[in-house]
Symmetry: C2
């Protein structure tokens, strides 16, 4: 198949969006990219992965200065010093995402991929959300050492940070229905049911 289909997934923390993305990619035989993008962007740019990790899905703020100072302190060679702002890192990661979208059909989680690929007619964007109690339960399964209250705070903080990142780099609003082709509460059909339902849309749309 010459056509490369890209499915982007935005998600509330604890919603199951990552699981859904992984299973969707596996079921369609597509590549899956989430944290992997950080390493790829680092590799392509020649910058160290930590720089991207620190800025990963974080909105631009005073950190840009800290990065530059940190790199300078570490005595690193900085051939891209002029773009070592969060905007610069976003630009590099955007190129990585665009390159990826040209090379293979894939599922990309987060990182404003829906906005970066907004002009790609073979890209469909999804947003996964879930009932609060289900999200809390999922977070507690990942972090059994924390309390319900802490899980709720963690969810709120992570989503706030994701929203700030998305709203900073796109002209859209994180979590707003109109920002995505399809948004779904994963509780309606469960994780596997949601994967099948999204797969149905992809197969119908692209006549797979």
């Amino acid at each position: 198949m010459d056509r490369k289909i890209v499915l982007t997934i935005g998600r509330q923390f604890g919603s199951g969006g990552r699981d859904i993305g992984q299973r969707l990619a596996a079921s369609l035989g597509f590549g899956y990219y989430d944290k992997e993008l950080v390493t790829m962007a680092a590799k392509e740019s020649g910058l160290c992965p930590e720089v991207f990790e620190n800025a990963d899905e974080k909105a631009s703020d005073g950190l840009a200065h800290a990065f530059t100072m940190g790199l300078s302190y570490m005595g690193m060679f900085t051939p891209h010093a002029d773009i070592l702002s969060n905007e610069g890192l976003f630009k590099i990661q955007s190129d990585t995402i665009r390159n990826l979208a040209e090379k293979e059909s894939c599922v990309i989680v987060g990182r404003c991929a829906d906005y970066i690929l907004r002009d790609n007619p073979d890209c469909l964007s999804f947003f996964i959300h879930n009932n609060t109690e289900v999200r809390v339960q999922r977070v507690l399964e990942m972090h059994p050492e924390i309390t319900v209250e802490q899980a709720k705070n963690f969810m709120a903080k992570t989503d706030k940070s994701r929203a700030a990142y998305y709203n900073c780099y796109t002209n859209k609003t994180w979590g707003n229905a109109a920002s995505y082709h399809l948004s779904i509460n994963a509780s309606v059909l469960g994780i596997d049911g949601t994967v099948k339902y999204i797969q149905h849309l992809v197969k119908t749309k692209f006549e797979l």
Copy 2:
């Protein structure tokens, strides 16, 4: 079938949400309620339909006073004068929606039905949006006498008003993905394709 399934539809103006709701209801053999709710609420309350029409999907503001004054000016008998605020009208319409949901499987467009029926396990909520250019085209087909600019203004104003109404009477945000079970851009599959896709969810969820 003893179980009454209710599908609520929120929609951007010009998105095709109303068409989708009508066709969805027809395809499932469900009742369809949109403007009809105004007449029903009026009938059930004994108030004149105009009172509900004027307040239909409008947020509470100084209008409550104007309604009361208007009724008084018309010399109408006002047995419910104490609830003749927009909140009172919302309450009456909410009762109409709840009664309806108990009586028959149906599709209800707008009027915060998703919020009113939030505790009904047999209720699924949808939000329909669409690409701006498609919406403009649809509005121009309905109103060939207006310009593209006027159509855009009309869309923006109507959606602003719908959002104000929804945000005023619910603890959710109009158009926010998390406020609905499913949100979809009707351009992905077209109107009929979207109807089929939603129908697929309903049939899967409720094992129809």
